[in-house]
C-alpha cells in the first residue's frame, strides 16, 4: 500500500469521518483515497476552495466534537498555519498531515525535511506547540495516525504527522489492526448544540485582557509539560556500545541505518538515535547519550534544522556535526557512510 493511502485508511479506522483537503503534490493520493472511501461510509470528503478554507473547515468540525483531518504538502501547510494557530488557541484536537517537499517558495515536489522548524517551532503565530510525529515506514505511518488522533483528543491540541514525499509515495506491505482500538474521549466543551441541557459552549481564542490571555497560555503550557513527560517516542538503533551517534528521523533514518550497518561491518562503533516524536523532542535521551558517545552526527534532508535541537540537548558536552542534502535531493548510504568514517577517524 502507498504511504499516502495507508495514512488515509488508518485515519478512517481511527474514527475520522471528516476530511477537508485541497490538491497538492506529493500528498495527492491521500485525498483521492478519502474521496473514494468517505461517501461509502457516511463520512465527509470535501475538496475546499483553498488550504485556508480546508483548515478552517477542520476547525469547525473539530469544534463540533468529531475527529477531523486535513493533509497537504509544504506550501499548503504554510497556508494552513493561520488556522492551526486558531485551533491551538481554541484548544481543539485535529490531525494534520504534511507530506513534505522541497522549499522555500514553490520549491519542488521531491522529498524534503525542510519543514522541521515550521512544524516544531513556528507553524503560525503565538505561543503554542503541536504534537509532531515522524514516521519512517508505511507501517509506522499507520500506527502513528492512530496515536495522533488519540493524543490530540487527550490533550486537546493539534497533532501533525510530518512525513515526506518519499514515504508518501512509497509502497510497502502494511498490516491494519483487526479491530482498531480507538480512545473514547468525552468532549463536554464541543459546540454541538446545547439541546437545552447545559450552558452554551464557546470555542474561542480571543482574550482582550492581557492577564486573562496569559492565564490561558500558561495553562496550555502546563498541559505541554505533561505531554513532554509522557509522550516522547524515540528509537535507539545499535546504540549499546556506540561511540558515534547519528541522530536522524523519518525516511532519512532508513538511509542512515543502512550506512550504520556498513560502518559496523568496517568495525566502527556507531549507532542511530531516531526521534519519533519531534515535539516533544527526546532531549533527555540525547542528553544521556552525550555521556556515552564521543561524537554526534545529525543527518537530515535540509540545511540543518533538527541539528539545533540536538545541540541544545547535547549542551556542548560533545561535538555535533551535520550532514544534509536539500531541495529534494536524497542522501545516499555511501555519502552518510563517508561522514561516519570521517567522524570515527577512519
Amino acid at each position: 500500500m502507498k504511504g499516502n493511502e495507508a495514512m488515509a485508511e488508518a485515519a478512517i479506522q481511527a474514527g475520522c469521518r471528516h476530511f477537508f483537503g485541497y490538491p497538492i503534490t506529493p500528498q495527492t493520493e491521500l485525498s483521492a483515497y478519502m474521496a473514494k472511501k468517505m461517501p461509502k461510509i457516511g463520512g465527509t470528503f470535501l475538496q475546499a476552495e483553498s488550504e485556508i478554507a480546508a483548515i478552517n473547515m477542520v476547525l469547525g468540525a473539530a469544534s463540533a466534537g468529531v475527529r477531523a483531518m486535513t493533509s497537504s504538502s509544504s506550501p499548503g501547510i504554510s497556508l494552513k498555519s493561520e488556522g492551526v494557530s486558531y485551533i491551538a488557541g481554541s484548544d481543539l484536537p485535529c490531525v494534520l498531515i504534511n507530506v513534505q517537499r522541497g522549499g522555500p517558495g514553490l520549491g519542488g515536489i521531491q522529498p524534503s525535511q525542510a519543514d522541521y522548524w515550521q512544524a516544531t517551532k513556528a507553524l503560525g503565530h503565538g505561543d503554542y506547540q503541536l504534537l509532531v510525529f515522524a514516521p519512517s515506514t508505511v507501517q509506522e505511518m499507520v500506527s502513528l495516525i492512530f496515536k495522533a488522533f488519540d493524543k490530540a483528543d487527550e490533550y486537546r491540541m493539534p497533532a501533525m504527522i510530518l512525513a515526506d514525499g518519499m514515504l508518501g509515495q512509497m509502497m510497502e506491505p502494511v498490516e491494519f489492526p483487526e479491530k482498531a482500538e480507538v480512545a473514547k474521549v468525552e468532549k463536554p466543551w464541543a459546540t454541538n448544540g446545547h439541546q437545552g441541557k447545559r450552558a452554551h459552549n464557546v470555542v474561542n481564542s480571543l482574550y482582550l485582557q492581557a492577564p486573562e490571555l496569559e492565564k490561558h497560555v500558561v495553562e496550555r503550557f502546563k498541559r505541554y509539560d505533561i505531554v513532554k513527560a509522557n509522550e516522547v517516542m524515540v528509537e535507539n538503533y545499535k546504540m549499546e556500545d556506540a561511540e558515534v551517534a547519528v541522530v536522524t528521523y523519518g525516511a532519512t533514518s532508513r538511509i542512515v541505518k543502512s550506512a550504520v550497518n556498513s560502518a559496523r561491518a568496517l568495525g566502527i562503533k556507531v549507532g542511530c538515535i531516531r526521534p519519533i516524536t519531534l515535539w516533544p523532542f527526546p532531549e533527555k535521551e540525547i542528553a544521556a547519550a552525550a555521556d556515552k558517545v564521543q561524537k554526534f552526527l545529525c543527518v537530515e534532508m535540509s540545511m540543518g534544522q533538527m541539528v539545533e535541537d540536538v545541540r541544545l540537548a547535547v549542551n556542548g558536552k560533545k561535538p555535533v556535526e551535520f550532514f544534509g542534502r536539500t531541495g529534494g535531493v536524497i542522501p545516499t548510504p555511501a555519502e552518510v557512510l563517508e561522514q561516519i568514517k570521517k567522524l570515527a577517524g577512519k
Binding site: 478554507a53 473547515m57 476547525l59 468540525a61 463540533a64 454541538n192 464557546v202 474561542n204
Partner: protein
C-alpha cells in the same frame, strides 16, 4: 401585569460593547428573536467573525465559535458537515465577508452549503477605526480614503447579494435595512426566512443588512440613518435577489 416585551432567550443577558447608535444591537436581537420563534436555540451554533462583532460569542445563548478573519463560512461548513441536523449561522461584517473572506463566501455559496449568513454591511471597517471596506461607496471618506474613495485607484464597491444570486447553490438572498421600524420588521422576516430555508435543507441563505456606523462615519445616529437612506440604499437596493424556497418565484 402581563409582560408585553422582553429580551429574547437566545440573547445573553450582558451589555453590548457596541458604540452608541450602532445597529449591531438591533440585528443581534432580530437573530435571537428568530432563534426563539423557531425554537432552535438548543441545536443552533453561531460563528462569530473578526470585526466589530468579534465578541458576538458573548451575546448569544446558543453554542458559538469564533472564526479567523473571513473564514466564518469555512468554519460553519465544518460545523454543519459534522452535525447536519444542527442549524449553523455566521454573523459577519463587510470587511470579513467581502474582502478577506471572499473565497470562503463565494465557495460556501456555490457549494450550496446549508448554512445561513447574516451579513452586516456598514460600508466601513469599524473595529479597526474606520478604514475603507470593499463596500465603501464611491467618494466616501474613510481613514484610508481621506480624499474620498477614488474608484480609479481604489476600485468599486462590491454588491454581494447581486453577485451571489448568480450562483446555483444559493437558496435565498435578500438585502434589508434597519434604518426604520418597517425595515426592521422586514429584516426580521428575511432573517427568519433564511433560517427556515436552512431548516428545510434548501441550501445557502444570506441576508445582507444595511447598517450604520455613526462613530466612524462621523455622524449622529439619526444623521447616520439619513446617510444610509440617501447613499447606501440607492447603491445597494433593498429586495429579494434569490428565492428558491417554496414561496419563491425563481
Amino acid at each position: 401585569m402581563a409582560i408585553v416585551f422582553q429580551k429574547p432567550h437566545a440573547l445573553a443577558d450582558r451589555p453590548f460593547h457596541y458604540c452608541p447608535g450602532c445597529t449591531h444591537g438591533i440585528i443581534h436581537r432580530l437573530v435571537a428573536e428568530v432563534i426563539d420563534e423557531l425554537g432552535i436555540e438548543g441545536k443552533t451554533v453561531g460563528v462569530a467573525p473578526v470585526g466589530c462583532a468579534v465578541m458576538a460569542y458573548d451575546y448569544f445563548n446558543c453554542d458559538m465559535v469564533e472564526a479567523p478573519h473571513g473564514r466564518a463560512p469555512a468554519v460553519a461548513t465544518g460545523l454543519k458537515r459534522a452535525i447536519p441536523e444542527n442549524v449553523v449561522f455566521t454573523y459577519q461584517g463587510d470587511g470579513d465577508l467581502a474582502a478577506i473572506g471572499t473565497a470562503e463566501t463565494v465557495h460556501s455559496a456555490t457549494r450550496g452549503e446549508n448554512i445561513t449568513i447574516i451579513f452586516v454591511n456598514n460600508a466601513i471597517y469599524g473595529m479597526t477605526g474606520g478604514q475603507m471596506a470593499p463596500t465603501t461607496l464611491p467618494n466616501q471618506v474613510t481613514q484610508t480614503t481621506p480624499y474620498g474613495r477614488d474608484v480609479a485607484t481604489a476600485g468599486h464597491p462590491v454588491r454581494i447579494c447581486e453577485m451571489l444570486s448568480t450562483l446555483d447553490g444559493v437558496a435565498y438572498a435578500e438585502r434589508v435595512s434597519v434604518d426604520n421600524v418597517p425595515n426592521v420588521r422586514n429584516a426580521k422576516k428575511a432573517i427568519k426566512k433564511a433560517f427556515e430555508a436552512q431548516i428545510n435543507e434548501k441550501g445557502f441563505s444570506i441576508i445582507e443588512v444595511l447598517s450604520t456606523c455613526p462613530t466612524n462615519w462621523g455622524l449622529s445616529p439619526s444623521d447616520a440613518f439619513e446617510w444610509l437612506r440617501g447613499n447606501m440604499i440607492p447603491y445597494y437596493p433593498l429586495g429579494v435577489y434569490k428565492d428558491k424556497t417554496e414561496e419563491g418565484t425563481l
